[in-house]
Every structure is written in structure tokens, then in C-alpha cells.
Amino acid sequence: MKILVAIKRVPDAETTIKVNPEGTGIVNAGVKWVVNPFCEIAIEEALKIKETKGDVEVVLVTVGRSESQEQLRTGLAMGADRAILVTAENLDTTGVSRVLAKIVEKESPDVVFLGKQAIDDDSNEVGQMLAQRLGWAQACYISEFNMADDAKSAQVVREIDGGMRTDKVMLPAIITADLRLNEPRYASLPGIMKARKKPLEEIDGASLGVDLEPKIIIKSMAPPPARAAGRLVESVDELINALKNEAKVL
């Protein structure tokens, strides 16, 4: 069986993001780049299936600049078998999903895992778009993944607004991981050593014959509106009084 996991290089969740003075993007200096947390969860799930089912190849793919190799190496160090870097710049979710659809055609995986959202653009789109392009079923925001013994279908638990729901999808399908699916492992030192020798194929995005022109153009970026400064209160009484008489919300 083959599992494809799509991952994205993003700023670390702990990094403070600032908009640059020109309002064209964010300040890149000092940003630490990592595997998108939801993608780490996606990788972990693939590795868990590999461990329980055996005979599973876990292939990572990312679309981006050549620096994204670092994130592929991280995933390989966690235990993935090989990786594909599709080099392309400034793609939007449409472009990424088109590229990923091509890679899926080439690789014919039995299931594709993605993160629910990338924490840089916060789009929450690529998995759904990819599913449509392939004509596959999608299971988004999953917190449980149970593959049938014959590997022909999977039952998933999905986090939805009012609670949880369980769906069944025939494989191959697109699965996007939510936070509570698992706890991703850290790469071990031997894992990191081994990862250096694992295959990492590079494909020029322009060679895939898909339209990479973005459909969403960022015209400008601004920092969020600042909140007026508040104050500390000394006691519960003062708090209740302020809520009643100043803020008038009690």
C-alpha cells in the first residue's frame, strides 16, 4: 500500500508574525520555518498505519521553494520512506491542488493525507480542492481514522461544529487531519541520520503541464486593528462593578 502525505513549510506557531512596513507581506527575518503542525499530524497517521499494517510506503510531497527540502527531511526523519519536492513559487491553493493532483496521478496512492489547514494562510482549502480534481471522496477534520482490514475503505470520525460525526469513505480518498487525531512523534537522532540517505526527488513545477497562475492575488496586507488598552482591577467587587456600570454588560 502507498500513502501520500502533502506537507507545507510554514512559520513556527510560536513565531510572532509582523506585517512589513510596505504592507506587501510579512517580515521574514527571524522566522523559524517548520512543518505545518497539521501536516505533522498527517505524517504521524501515515506512519502509524505503516507500523500496524506493514508493507506500506509513505511518500511525502511538498510544493514550494527549494528550502522546503528541510521540511521533507524532517518528515523523512520521522519515518517516511521518500519525498517529492515540486518546485514552484507563489502558488495559491488552486495551483497547489492542481500540482498535487498531478503527483497523485503519477504515484497512484491508496490514500492521501493532508492537514486541515496551513497555519500561514489559514485557507483550509487544498484537501477539498484536490478531492474534487480527482473526483474522490473527502473526509475533512478527522480525529480518528480506521482502515478496513481489506484496505478498501475507511471509517473516520470528523470534528464538526456541533460535535462529531462518523463517515465512511471508499479508498482512495482525501483525508485532512485535525488536531486530535494523534500526537506526532519527534524525529530521533538515528531517524535524522537515516533521513539524509532517503530519496528526495525534485520536480520542476513548470514541467507538469498545469496552470499555475494564481486566482487569488494579495493586493496588500495590514496588521490587525489594535484593541484599546484595558486595565487591571484589584478585586472581584471592582470587576463586577466595572462590568455593570462602565461596560454595562451585566
Binding site: 512559520p11 506557531a13 510572532t16 508574525i17 506585517v19 510579512i26 488552486t94 491542488s97 497555519i119 500561514d120 489559514d122 485557507s123 483550509n124 482549502e125 477539498q128 480542492m129 478531492a131 474534487q132 480534481r133 473526483g135 474522490w136 471522496a137 473527502q138 475533512c140 477534520y141 471509517q155 470534528e159 464538526i160 461544529d161 460535535g163 462529531m164 462518523t166 463517515d167 465512511k168 469513505v169 471508499m170 485535525d178 488536531l179 486530535r180 494564481p214 486566482k215 487569488i216 492575488i217 494579495i218 493586493k219 496586507m221 496588521p223 490587525p224 484593541r227 484595558g230 486595565r231 487591571l232 482591577v233 478585586s235 467587587d237 470587576l239 462590568l243 461596560a247 454588560v249 451585566l250
Partner: protein, 318 residues
Amino acid sequence: MGNVLIFAEHAHGELPKATAIAVGAGKEAAQKLGGDTILAVLNNTIGGLAERAAKLGATKVVTVENPALEHNMADVTAAALGEVAKAVDAGLIVFAATTLGKEIAPRLAAALEAATASDVTGINDDGTFVRPMYAGSAFATVELKGDRKIISVRTTAFEPAAEDGSSPIEALSVDIPMPGNPAEFVSQAETKSDRPVLTEANRVVAGGRGLKNAENFTTVLEPLVDALGAAMGASRAAVDAGYVPNDLQVGQTGKVVAPALYIAVGISGAIQHLAGMKDSKVIVAINKDAEAPIFSVADYGLVADLFEAVPEMTGKIA
């Protein structure tokens, strides 16, 4: 630019506030960019849903009734909406940015090769849209290319349409191009609660890791929640630890809320949490650590042990 098609999310025969908000945003878009507003209700049985939708005052309500539309399966619903979009000449399609809206909108965008933006917080006169990125650390003004656009709108950023309209209702007969291997619904476990819905509530009391366990949520936090008639929310840490169900998570990757009053109890205020509550009108923080970042967004901060302050506050309010 064509018409504005709005997806009517519904559950148990009712329209949640999110649908009224999507209509509100759709009307705003139509006013600025032109076109009629068309509210689409899709289900296996339409019943009273159409009349309820008509009250929201769109130019027209269209309905699609088909057994395959039961259970809001994203693949089938997107396929059906694609046909509706063509039938009504939709230039802009509006979803509420709920989990359901965000499942369907991008799928539909790929099907129609339409440009899309999620979590939109503003619609500009020139046809550009505003959306947050990086957990709300940046707001981008974006242009969507092409003749057909799809947005999901953040429910805290738009006013709900009033329920005093009466749109004409038209039943559409569309052939749904069924996907080859549709996903199947198995079961649903809804969080049952007598409290207001988190995303609709006027007041929210949210607890974090500082509560320490599930029992304290029940014995310490809930009495305050109920004394205020509030909805309960939580940080990711509290949800991950299993103190409360996942659908109470407020933040970048959870619910976005903007109540009149938000009380954060034992929550440090990580940027991912702030992303989901920063737009609340009045924010109160109760935390024993005076350095906690939550105080930077709080209108009123109380540096105190929550296990003393919360019961005291409950007693004095009730």
C-alpha cells in the same frame, strides 16, 4: 458580475444564525457589486425550510430536493450547488465559514474553477475582499480573478439579515452529477447542551488549562457560565486534555466568537486562542500570572487564583 448565490446551512429543519449572517454578507456584496441575492436550500426534504429561508429577505429562495442531499455530504452538496450556480448565473457564491461551509466551498471552487477566499471579514466597494492570515496577525486585501468567485464569511464580521422578509420560492430541478464513490454518513454524536450556542451567544465564559481537570470545569466554571446565561468555551489545551468536548475550542483552528462579554479563565492567551476571541466587545481575563498575554487584550484583568475568584464572582452575580 452575475448574481450572489448564498448557501443556506441548516440543521434539524432550522436555519442557524450563521445562515442569516451569510445572507447579510451576501446582501452587502450585492449592494456593492450588483446582482440579485439568491438563497439556496438543499436537502432530502425541504419542508418548512423554504419558508424559514424566505424570511431572510433574499431576492429569491431556490430549493433543491433530492434524497442524495441528506446528511450534508460535501461531495454531493458541492456537485448540486455547482448546477444551481450555473442555473442562477452566480457570479459570487457565499458560505458561512462554518465547518460545513469550509468543507464545501473549496470543493465547489475547484469544480467551477472559481477563485476562492475563506474566512472573509470584509467586502470592499472595488470588489476586493479582506481576510485574516497567520492566526489574525495579518489582514490581507485580496483580489479574486475570473467571473465566478466563492467566499466563506467569518460569522463575527457580518450582521445577520433581519427575519422580516418574504422572498419568492422556486423549486429547481437539477440533475446532480453524482460522484463516483460518494462518502457515506454513518452516525453523528452531537454535543447536547441547554446553554446558548457558542458562536451565537451574547456572553461566553471560556476555561483553559488553569482549570486543571474536567471536574473543575463542572464545579468551578459552569456555575459562573450559568449564572451569566453564557455559552461555555475553552482553549485548545483544555480540549486536548479532555476536560471539555472539541467543539468548544475557541481560536485559530476552532470557533471564532465575538460576544458582548468574553471571560477567559485560566487561559494564557496564546495567539492561536486570541485569534478566535479578540473581536469580543468586552474581554475579561482571570489569571494568576500577571504576565499572561491574555491581559494584553483584556479590558478588565483580574490577577487572581481562579479557584477563589470564580466562585466569589458567581456568588455575587447570582
